[in-house]
Amino acid sequence: MQYWIIQTLNSFALGGLLFLLAAGFSLIFGLMRIANLTHGSLYMLGAYVGVTVLKFVPNLWLAALIGGLVIAVFGGLIERFILRALAGNALGQVLVTLGISFMVADFCLVVWGGDPIPVPTPAALQQPLRIGGVVFPTYRLVVLAIAVVTAIVLYVLMERTRIGAMIRAGVDDMQMARAVGIPVSKLFTAVFCLGAALAGAGGIIGGPIMSAYPGLDADMLPLALIVVILGGIGSLLGAFVGSFLIGAIYTFGTALLPDLAYVILFLPMIVVIAFRPRGLFGRRTV
């Protein structure tokens, strides 16, 4: 019984971690139709920047904020100066973002070296939580809480504000949105910055669990893809449900059939693509 409680908590915690990763990817993909393959790199860069910030300000949350801002600026530059020039050229954008991700990986290797660097868990959260016979890392529960709060904030932003309405309009029909005077161009940059910031901050908040190491980018990008494809492109709810679904499938799958870890992770995505190409909550695009 305790075992299943721990695994359930595990699946929630992993879901939370995945949502922090995938929310930004979903936003960018949804509005701009850009499969931003630098997303894993932004996540890794965030983790590394966080490592450096933590040397000067020993506070993880502050590091996440600063790291998020740094990555937002970096993302903004990519969007303004590189992707903008390739507007409408989907293949070009995919290749360029892939190229940038290689460059970021090499940059990180040169600056931070090739060894894994731990991101220290905040001192207050280092002890595992013990309730009854269940022992669970406190920090993971905090990550889960952060993911839920982030989801609520993003939901309010998207569904209850004017900007959110404009973004949704852009997702639904970009040309029409332009025609009615929505500044889609500025919106693009803003959304890209927001998505990058989420990835960067996610990298630092996930740091105490994942650490910062070369290859983190390539480990995380497929997960973001799976979540977004499963949940549905451009849908925040989809990203949220997709994250926790993947978290649960992965956790219980590897617990029951440890030899088939990868099959379990990717099979749902294939099934969904085959039978519901827009994903579980994808909008019908015009």
Partner: protein, 414 residues
């Protein structure tokens, strides 16, 4: 007739051609072309860069000279991608005309280059641990001065069973050949010594999170063997502590799990962990002390597995060339000599078996704090361990290669 320099050279040339050895003289004067096949980009770069640093240091310490001949170093970066490794190797051989290769770093790259090495008859001093390259499918041009995957795991299993008196253990490793081979060797020796492996887990190389695996671990065991490579052992162990398991289940590690390269980013949580490897920066011999001291001056950290690997291979090359008086051109003679050589290196005395794999000391080490940093102190030495451990070679080779399913795990508890 005045005897000027030109005349002298003419006369000398005539004398040499008379003795029918012109190529010999030419070879003696030209530098030896040494290739290093390593990884400088991607996830394996940390070890790969250490390999280059240590090799450059070895050459620097000897003024780039081995057996009186200059050595020129050419470095190829495979990125850890087997296909790229093959291409880069081809470049090293066909453009840079290397005469001998140290590397490649990883097993997959070594396997991808196997055919080419045979075809080119390229002298190879390898670091990659794949068992069968020196067992059931030996490559005649391949010599390995480090160890096979299981060569260090088998003595550790012996140590766990006989000295630590463990009875029940778990193994967990990356789900790749290296992890399978290591765990299989560990299991075989541990169970032959009366122990039981009650749980055996393999996690994908790029697993996002070890939480689900850690939650599965049995706690009614004496110890857990970690067969991870690179950053995975580091991440697993951090999460292991996060789940409050440290102190409940003892941890022992394979040759790459708590390497010096990883230790320098760890804290007190690693203290007391026992691992086995063919090397430790703490080995007490003059060669190693000089190696570690110089490496620390240049780079500010202790050399680990990968740095020691090229430093040891370079020493093997050096000793072989001394015996051959620098004549690397005769490949057959080189292979014969290298496999018969006995040389004192940073890891201690090194020799080879007829399949080209090292016979050397394996060290049981314990993580301790010294001068403020974590080190792998040697607590026990298994001298002259072969890739077959204490098993008979013929019997060992009759069995299938160590794998996920062989030897079968009979004591698993669900």
């Amino acid at each position: 007739m005045t005897f000027n320099r030109r005349r002298f050279i003419q006369a000398a040339g005539a004398g040499v051609s008379a003795s029918a050895l012109p190529s010999f003289v030419l070879a003696q004067s030209s530098p030896i072309r040494l290739g290093l096949m390593t990884v400088k980009t991607g996830p394996l770069a940390s070890g790969g860069i250490d390999m280059e640093r240590a090799l450059v240091q070895y050459l620097k310490e000897r003024d780039s000279t081995m057996a009186g001949r200059k050595v020129e170093l050419f470095v190829g970066d495979s990125g850890g991608v087997p296909a790229q490794s093959r291409t880069k190797l081809q470049e090293l051989v066909e453009r840079d005309k290397i005469q001998i290769m140290i590397g490649p770093l990883d097993t997959a790259s070594a396997l991808a280059s196997d055919d080419y090495i045979r075809q080119q008859q390229l002298l190879t001093l390898s670091v990659a641990a794949a068992e069968d390259m020196t067992q059931r499918k030996p490559n005649p041009w391949f010599t390995r001065g480090t160890s096979t995957s299981s060569q260090c795991a088998m003595p550790l299993a012996d140590y766990c069973a006989k000295t630590l008196k463990y009875k029940r253990m778990i193994t967990i490793a990356d789900d790749i050949a290296y992890g399978h081979e290591m765990c299989a060797g560990f299991q075989r020796v541990f169970e032959d010594a009366g122990g039981k492996i009650v749980q055996k887990l393999f996690s994908p190389l790029t697993v996002p999170d070890y939480g689900t695996y850690i939650a599965q671990l049995k706690t009614n065991v004496d110890g857990i063997f970690l067969g991870f490579a690179g950053s995975n052992g580091f991440r697993f162990f951090r999460q292991f502590n996060e789940y409050g398991l440290r102190g409940k289940v003892a941890v022992v590690g394979g040759m790459t799990a708590f390497d010096e390269a990883v230790l320098r980013n760890m804290g007190d949580e690693a203290l007391g962990i026992v691992t086995s490897c063919w090397y430790s920066a703490e080995i007490e011999n003059a060669t190693n002390k000089r190696f570690v001291a110089n490496f620390r001056v240049d780079w500010g950290y202790d050399p680990g597995f990968y740095a020691a690997a090229t430093y040891v291979e370079a020493a093997v090359l050096d000793a072989t060339l001394q015996k051959l008086r620098g004549k690397i051109e005769d490949k057959e003679a080189f292979m014969k000599t290298v496999r018969a050589i006995k040389v004192d290196t940073a890891r201690g005395p090194v020799g080879f078996d007829h399949l080209g794999n090292v016979v050397g000391n394996i060290y049981i080490r314990k993580v301790e704090r010294k001068d403020g940093r974590l080190v792998n102190r040697v607590i026990h030495t298994y001298p002259n361990v072969s890739q077959f451990w204490t098993y008979k070679e013929a019997e060992f080779l009759k069995n299938p290669v160590y794998s996920r399913d062989w030897p079968p795990a009979k004591n698993l508890e669900s």
